[in-house]
């Protein structure tokens, strides 16, 4: 414990606070060992590993098809993306071509999932700052998405929708109509959300210029996804290392512009997500228009045995670059599965940014990084 003598000569000690693992704002089971001087933080060390479920090791004991449901649990707020990463890796190893309709189904499901995940992110953000109402408004919209997901694939949280070679079920035309109706309903809701929360003076005061992550720091600490974009780096796997049908779609990559303060502050990280909500809606509309006819899944052997080899697949998940490193030894089981997630690297920068901010700002910082405990530990 460090000791400091103040200007008055009083002998003071840092207070060690144990934030988590059962703290209301740690979004699951995270733990931070925080040294504070009153309300000001001197040091905050993240302690991860409370939600480790050996998902990577389980991959070595499952068949290729059998592992897909497990990937749902890697990030249960964005299970579609975890599915997609693994399926794409298996397809690349096995040389499977996904039919176009299957790709469109994947993108529709994924973008809906991204909207749901970002709604959780901005909603809990409001809650961590103390506004409960926006959180419930966000969850209300997410419920609609869950209903749509249930219609698409029968599940509301852990979807297990994607298959190696396509998707489990085709998206029916009436479901497409309902997705379009949801989008018509949802886009004005974002404006309302902005009026309620984003443009709120107290909310801006709490977040602007707080926990600023510079462009250099963001790159050095390997931030990905919205956190990286908020710091001003225009980098999106969907656009820069394109996969699936994203090259055919027209969308923008929002970056933090320092709208209410410095570029890369907590408000930018929040607002980038709000703008991504609208971009996802745009992608969804294009997908609904362009959806080709045809089968949704390719013929893949039930005993799928890709030839020996290894591959690394990157996709743009809601929490950024999600990578699957999969090694095959030509058997029915993957030889090794390694998942790289955005939340894990985001945790590392908390140590660097936290000195000097206040306890309440630490909560805002964690919320703004949108870390998700299951994704950190896997």
């Amino acid at each position: 414990m460090s000791e400091a003598a103040g200007s008055t000569g009083l002998h003071t000690e840092d207070m060690t606070l144990n934030v988590g693992p059962q703290h209301p704002s740690t979004h699951g089971v995270l733990r931070f060992v925080v040294k504070t001087d009153g309300e000001v933080i001197n040091e905050a060390i993240p302690d991860v590993g409370y939600l480790h479920r050996s998902i990577e090791k389980i991959g070595e004991k499952c068949t290729w098809h059998g592992y897909v449901p497990y990937t749902d649990r890697a990030d249960y707020l964005a299970a579609m993306f975890a599915n997609q990463g693994f399926c794409m890796a298996a397809e690349r190893l096995g040389g499977v071509e996904v039919p176009p309709r299957g790709e469109y189904c994947r993108v529709i499901a994924c973008e809906l999932n991204r909207v749901a995940s970002h709604l959780i992110a901005v909603g809990t953000f409001g809650q961590d700052i103390g506004a409960i109402t926006p959180f419930l408004h966000a969850l209300r919209e997410r419920e609609s998405i869950n209903d749509l997901m249930e219609e698409i694939c029968g599940a509301r949280l852990t979807y297990n929708y994607l298959r190696i070679g396509g998707v489990g079920y085709d998206i029916k035309p009436e479901t497409c109509a309902r997705i379009a109706a949801f989008l018509d309903h949802f886009e004005p809701i974002v404006d309302e959300y902005n009026r309620l929360l984003s443009n709120n003076k107290i909310f801006i005061e709490r977040l602007a210029d707080v926990a600023v992550i510079s462009k250099e720091d963001a790159l050095q600490y390997n931030l990905v996804g919205p956190n990286l974009r908020a710091s001003g780096v225009q980098w999106d796997i969907r656009r820069d290392i394109p996969y699936s049908v994203y090259p055919e779609l027209d969308f923008e990559v929002p970056v933090g512009r320092g709208e209410r303060g410095t570029q890369g502050d907590s408000y930018d990280r929040y607002y980038v997500r709000i703008r991504e909500l609208l971009e996802s809606c745009r992608i969804l509309r294009q997908c609904l228009d362009k959806m080709p006819e045809g089968p949704a899944v390719a013929k893949v052997a039930r005993k799928f045995k890709p030839p020996a080899g290894e591959t690394y697949v990157r996709i743009e998940a809601p929490r950024g670059d999600m990578g699957y490193y999969v090694v095959s030894d030509g058997s029915e089981y993957p030889y090794r599965v390694r998942i790289r997630t955005g939340s894990f690297t985001a945790m590392s920068i908390i140590d660097k940014i936290s000195p000097g901010i206040m306890v309440a700002d630490l909560i805002a910082l964690i919320a703004s990084l949108d870390v998700d405990a299951p994704e950190i530990d896997r």
Binding site: P24, E39, T133, L136, S144, R206, A360
Partner: protein, 401 residues
């Protein structure tokens, strides 16, 4: 007709028991009766109403199972909490830990002594009423600090320290705003302050001159801060401090803190109404009926007027809580010392200057202030309606079903 609780206590005094013993006994009896008959249901129903109002704002239903529309939810909660184990942490300072909820509770319940519900319905019309009120409501900070310290929990301690800083700081703008009113009324008595106002809005102190209008907002904001209400609920900020100073409390002791908080909401409204909104004042004649001739009807009407006016502010506080995020502790302090204290000072001096110019007030100025406030309110309501009618999508839970 003059009637106070002192008379009631005197009437209850049994002749055989000497007054020094009997008076406290009778006083305890009356306090208990008032507590269980009025204050407990008030705080309880407020808690239910807050949850319902809040639920509506958040597209939820809220508690609706116990009693009609769930109105008896507070009773069920109370019964449940009494049954809970009263956990005292092993390392807590036992005496202080046990005492703290009652101190907070006493600070809140003591405020009811001087709240004037009608021209003759006041427990005790102390001649230093408002001073007593400022003093007794500050008792809560002692209890909160006690709870924070004695729990031997760092979250509780942080919550307690925040609360102490906050309540002590916001006493100053609140006190300055009260002083503005005292200059106008010339008395510290709660009844005296109400009697110095009239029943019509232009006779209320809030519209006396532009400065008192600002003083009113200063007072209400400070009162929210003193009552630990959103956006100033940092002592129990659940997303930061787990539950702040109540982290280690369970069962009935936990409930006492929240009892006090919800009851305090009404106290805030009542004080605001007394100081600025004309209290229980009603016209002397209504539809040709001289009210003085019907004391009972007059009393009921006065009580209704006072209750409605003060409960309005409870609803405003709920609305604010449903809308705003929480400020940070340093922003809270900066807001108090950098903005609210100077503004409250300006209000005080402005009122003094205007009092020197027009010792008996200026009706034109009052009307102008009233008109300005009405215009602002109308514009605000128009904006709300506009947003609902023109830019809000139709909202139903499952838009595509």
């Amino acid at each position: 007709m003059e009637f106070t609780v002192q008379d009631l206590i005197q009437a209850l005094l049994p002749g055989a028991i000497p007054a020094p013993v009997g008076y406290p006994l009778a006083a305890i009896l009356v306090a208990f009766a008032v507590l269980s008959a009025f204050v407990a249901p008030l705080a309880g129903v407020t808690s239910w109403l807050e949850r319902r109002v809040w639920a509506r704002m958040q597209s939820r239903v809220g508690p609706n199972r116990v009693g009609p529309q769930g109105i008896l939810q507070w009773l069920a909660d109370g019964v449940k909490n009494i049954q809970k184990e009263d956990i005292i942490p092993a390392s807590a300072d036992r005496k202080l830990f046990l005492l703290a909820p009652y101190i907070v509770f006493a600070g809140f319940i003591g405020a009811f002594v001087v709240i004037p519900f009608g021209s003759w319905l006041i427990p005790a019309d102390l001649n230093i009423g408002i001073l007593y009120l400022l003093a007794i409501t500050s008792l809560a900070v002692v209890g909160i600090l006690m709870a924070g310290w004695s729990s031997n929990n760092k979250w509780s301690l942080l919550g307690g320290m925040r609360s102490a800083a906050q309540i002590v700081s916001y006493e100053i703008p609140a006190g300055l705003s009260v002083l503005t009113v005292i200059f106008l009324s010339g008395t510290l008595s709660m009844q005296g302050i109400i009697q110095a106002q009239g029943w019509a809005p232009q006779d209320w102190f809030i519209f006396y001159n532009p400065f008192t209008l600002v003083a009113f907002f200063m007072f209400f904001t400070s009162a929210l801060a003193e009552g630990n209400r959103t956006p100033f609920d940092i002592p129990e900020a659940e997303s930061e401090l787990v539950a702040g100073y109540v982290t280690e409390y369970s069962g009935m002791r936990f409930l006492f803190f929240f009892f006090a908080e919800w009851g305090n909401l009404y106290v805030i409204g009542a004080i605001t109404t007394t100081l600025f909104l004309g209290g229980w004042q009603i016209p002397a004649t209504i539809f040709g009926v001289t009210m003085a001739e019907h004391p009972l009807a007059k009393g009921v009407l006065e009580f209704t007027v006072f209750f409605v006016k003060s409960y309005l502010w409870v609803l405003v506080a709920m609305w604010i809580r449903g809308t705003l995020p929480r400020v940070r502790v340093d922003q809270l302090m900066a807001m108090c010392w950098k903005y609210m204290v100077p503004i409250a000072f300006v209000c005080l001096f402005g009122t003094i200057v205007l009092l020197v110019i027009w010792p008996d007030g200026n009706p034109a100025l009052s009307l102008a202030t009233l008109g300005f406030t009405t215009l602002v309110l109308v514009y605000f309501m128009w904006r709300v309606v506009y947003q609902i009618m023109h830019s809000r999508p139709e909202l139903y839970l499952k838009p595509y079903v």
